[in-house]
């Protein structure tokens, strides 16, 4: 029945690293996104956030590492998700390479800027 799989464009490459990392990052993000929301909206309140409070949290190495990994995994998961959606939409060839380049650059810039922000938050920069 394999011949019947042709027709629809798909990003569903079950053996691919992209497929695996999308799911590994998903498992991590489920926990950390829920923690992030809970900490900054229920334990603390968003309207009470100050630089001093952020600085105190980001000065904890474990919290800083968790937030930086949150940035990197969320960026990968989100940007790779957009790329998968575009492949589903049927892009091929030059369009596909352009999408890889633009999305890859956007992801890199986001991680660099997010890292700069994090280092200002903990007082390193």
């Amino acid at each position: 029945m394999a011949a019947e799989t042709s027709g629809a464009p798909t990003s569903f490459d079950r053996g691919g690293w992209g497929w695996l990392f999308q799911r590994i990052t998903a498992a991590f993000l489920i926990v950390v996104l829920a923690f992030h929301f809970f900490l900054l909206h229920f334990y603390h309140h968003a309207y009470e956030v100050t630089f001093a409070g952020t600085n105190a949290r980001m000065s904890d190495v474990g919290y800083f590492a968790t937030m930086w990994l949150f940035l990197v995994t969320a960026t990968f998961h989100g940007v790779n998700g957009i790329y998968n959606a575009m492949v589903n939409q049927g892009i091929t060839g030059t369009q596909k390479r352009a999408a890889q380049g633009i999305l890859g650059l956007a992801a890199l810039l986001l991680v660099v800027q997010g890292t700069r922000v994090a280092l200002h938050m903990n007082g390193f920069l």
Binding site: M1, A8, F37, A46, Y47, V49, N55
Partner: protein, 133 residues
């Protein structure tokens, strides 16, 4: 041996009347994903005020939090994130072969649970507006 079939062009939304629970779950997951990745870029942009200095950061965040529409948007973001988390958990389980036979019911459960969590969170998300409690 597993069976495969031609599902047609799933992005042809003109077929929406044919869509069943699994298809709506796929569409909602994609839609909430677009919102969340868009917000991620916006979030880092707002937090970048930390680079300008502590005062700029605190003033920007507290000014934004004093705007009613921003609080409503935050509740929208919460509902988007909660659905994406719950349906994402459902997808991971289905990928592992768990609950495949009841994937439609788990989608409905994701929707109901999202609604319940968001409604229960509204007071917290509106707290402190206008200097009140």
């Amino acid at each position: 041996m597993s069976q495969s079939y031609n599902r047609g062009l799933v992005e042809d939304f003109g077929r929406w009347k044919e869509f069943q629970a699994g298809m709506w779950a796929w569409i909602f997951h994609k839609f909430t994903g677009w919102i969340l990745v868009g917000y991620l870029f916006t979030h880092i942009a707002v937090l970048s005020t930390a680079i300008q200095g502590p005062e700029s950061y605190t003033t920007t965040l507290q000014s934004l939090e004093s705007i009613f529409v921003v609080r409503i948007l935050e509740i929208g973001l919460l509902s988007t994130a909660v659905f994406h988390i719950l349906n994402g958990t459902r997808l991971l389980l289905v990928d592992l072969g768990i609950g495949l036979g009841s994937q439609d019911k788990s989608f409905y459960a994701s929707l109901v649970l999202t609604g319940a969590i968001v409604v229960a969170s509204v007071p917290t998300f509106l707290a402190g507006l206008g200097g009140g409690v």
